[in-house]
């Protein structure tokens, strides 16, 4: 029950936070969120690391590898994209208007 409450609150929170992300950032958001869904790596560690061997151990290990691809790849590629956004300031107006987000501001 408590877990369910946590679930509901998280859903509200996610809705609140994510509906404010500007369209400009939707692609990085998608890949960043995807990386976060790799949190299941924690579950994989528990599953693989707690068992003494056999099937569950191998299933867990495979889950671990696969989840880590998701996590590491996801964060890195998001970072690559956002790096391109970060450096982008029109040299002239850059200082005065530090955010410079025209297309992003709704």
């Amino acid at each position: 029950m408590q877990n369910f409450i946590v679930f509901v609150l998280s859903a509200f929170l996610g809705n609140e936070i994510l509906s404010k992300v500007p369209q400009t950032l939707h692609t990085p958001l998608m890949s960043g969120a995807n990386a976060i869904s790799g949190i299941t790596v924690v579950g994989a560690l528990v599953a693989a690391g707690m068992s003494g061997g056999g099937w569950s151990s191998w299933l867990g290990f495979f889950a671990l590898v696969v989840a880590t691809i998701n996590v590491v790849g996801g964060f890195l590629v998001t970072d690559r994209m956002l790096q391109m956004f970060a450096k982008k300031q029109r040299p002239s107006g850059g200082e005065a208007e530090p955010q410079g987000v025209k297309a992003g501001a709704k």
């Binding site: 939707h26 998608m30 960043g32 956002l82």
Partner: protein
């Protein structure tokens, strides 16, 4: 066991995800946000590695290194245009991992090991969450890989359909639900049925993912990817319920919300319902539009050349560039930026008009243009700039089609009601594309034949390169 310290660490990592996602609200802070989220992940992994009684830490570190290495290589090598594919692949991995963790939990229960993890005894509630986790995870996995295939062109982008397909899908879904039910029941009563039923459930779910995505056209894949992204989050959350792990529940749910919001936004921007997208059959058929590639009777097409375009734009006061999917395909963003800079040097005001669904992913154009160093403040959203076309000399449409198609203003076709960029109000429209074929929706575009439209046929990269060098020549 989950000690309070571990729980605190998980809470901290969830908080980092939340704060990180919040920073995604502005390009200026987004990178830092992504790093914070990555930090949250690190906290969760380290807490698990060192605070849980992990039996084989070296093995675990090995797994992390292998996965991390593969992920890093994939992330470094991908082209910016291939982003949708890569997200689909990662997504598939995420779903698979969630399902596998739930399966490992079952394997433990089935007694192949002497050491039982806490909660390894399957109560009916836990068994139910295992079913959810396996079902969602496996559907996400196979669905994502089909989406990858379609996006990357390894599978045909055409919507695939065969007679009885819908029946087959329903049958497989029913089977999966049935075996899920058997699994839940067997966990309490008939232990020997547990493993077979969960294996059948997994296979059914994998088949279901394929059957669900195959009938959807390649061009709708981004919506599918966003939806599957949402699923992969839910799969992680379900696994969190299985393990009683707060980090998984919170983060998985956040991702579920993110994917769902993106899905809804995309559908709205295309003016189609989610059901319409998912029941499929829309778009993708590139060849089918061939019939329209010739100008129809009685309508003439005005053509132009790169040189003429260069001269036309260089004498304009204001030029608005409308990029579309073709820009991404042709990788023409760099010469395009060069054109814009050359024009600005000559005193021309250059703005980019970004339609919400231009390209094949939300924000696709922004990523491409950012890669080419186009400054944000020349990018404008549709609502901001639509009023300006009437005062614009030249609208330069680069590989865009549906997002400028006036057919959207009339009822009775596939894009009716989709808001479009009013390029037709500009004094002159230059459209760069390779042919008269329609865009991804397959709806013919009357703009090709308008009096103030000039077609510039050819690959967008070649055309933009040619315009850029002509502009340089003019400047000299």
């Amino acid at each position: 066991m989950q000690t309070p310290v571990i729980q605190l660490a998980y809470l901290a990592s969830a908080a980092l995800f939340i704060v990180g996602l919040r920073r995604m609200q502005s390009p200026a802070t987004a990178r830092r946000g992504n790093q914070l989220a990555a930090g949250g992940m690190l906290v969760a992994v380290l807490a698990t590695l060192f605070l849980y009684d992990i039996l084989s830490p070296w093995m675990m570190i090995l797994g992390l290194l292998i996965g991390g290495g593969i992920g890093a290589v994939l992330a470094r090598q991908v082209e910016m245009t291939a982003m949708p594919e890569l997200v689909a692949v990662f997504n598939g991995f995420g779903g698979l991992a969630s399902a596998l963790v739930a399966l490992a939990e079952v394997a433990q229960y089935a007694g192949d090991s002497a050491i039982l993890a806490p909660g390894a005894e399957l109560a009916a509630g836990t068994a139910f969450t295992v079913v959810l986790s396996v079902l969602i995870g496996m559907v996400t996995c196979s669905g994502s890989f089909v989406a990858y295939g379609k996006l990357s062109g390894r599978l045909s982008g055409n919507p695939v359909a065969f007679v009885g397909m819908r029946t087959a899908t329903l049958g497989v879904l029913g089977g999966a639900v049935f075996f899920g039910g058997v699994f839940v029941a067997s966990a309490a009563a008939a232990a020997w049925l547990t493993i077979p039923s969960v294996v059948l459930l997994s296979l059914g779910a994998l088949a279901l993912g394929i059957l669900l995505v195959v009938p959807i056209g390649g061009a709708d894949m981004p919506v599918v990817v966003a939806l599957l992204n949402s699923y992969s989050g839910l799969a992680a959350a379900a696994t969190g319920f299985v393990l009683g792990n707060i980090a998984l529940i919170v983060s998985g749910t956040l991702v579920g919300a993110a994917g769902f919001i993106l899905t809804v936004i995309m559908c709205e921007a295309m003016n189609r319902s989610l059901v319409n997208v998912l029941t499929g059959g829309f778009g993708g058929e590139e060849g089918a539009a061939g019939a329209a590639a010739e100008a129809p009777e009685g309508r003439t097409v005005g053509e132009t050349s790169p040189d003429d375009t260069a001269i036309l734009t260089s004498y304009a006061d204001q030029v608005i560039i409308v990029p579309g999917y073709g820009l991404a395909v042709a990788q023409a963003q760099h010469p395009l930026r060069e054109i814009a800079e050359l024009l600005e040097e000559r005193g021309v005001t250059v703005k980019y008009a970004i339609h919400p669904v231009a390209g094949r992913m939300p924000g696709h154009m922004n990523v491409l243009l950012a890669e080419a160093n186009v400054p944000y403040d020349s990018l404008f959203e549709m609502e901001e700039i639509n009023g300006e076309f009437a005062q614009t000399d030249v609208a330069l449409v680069v590989g865009a089609n549906d997002v400028v198609n006036p057919a959207a203003r009339e009822p009775g076709n596939d894009i009716s009601g989709m808001p479009i960029l009013n390029v037709d109000e500009a004094q002159t429209v230059v459209m760069m594309k390779r042919s008269l074929s329609p865009g991804y929706s397959g709806v013919d575009n009357a703009l090709f034949y308008a009096d103030n439209t000039k077609m510039l046929f050819g690959d967008a990269k070649e055309s933009t390169d040619a315009i850029a060098s002509e502009l340089k020549a003019l400047g000299a």
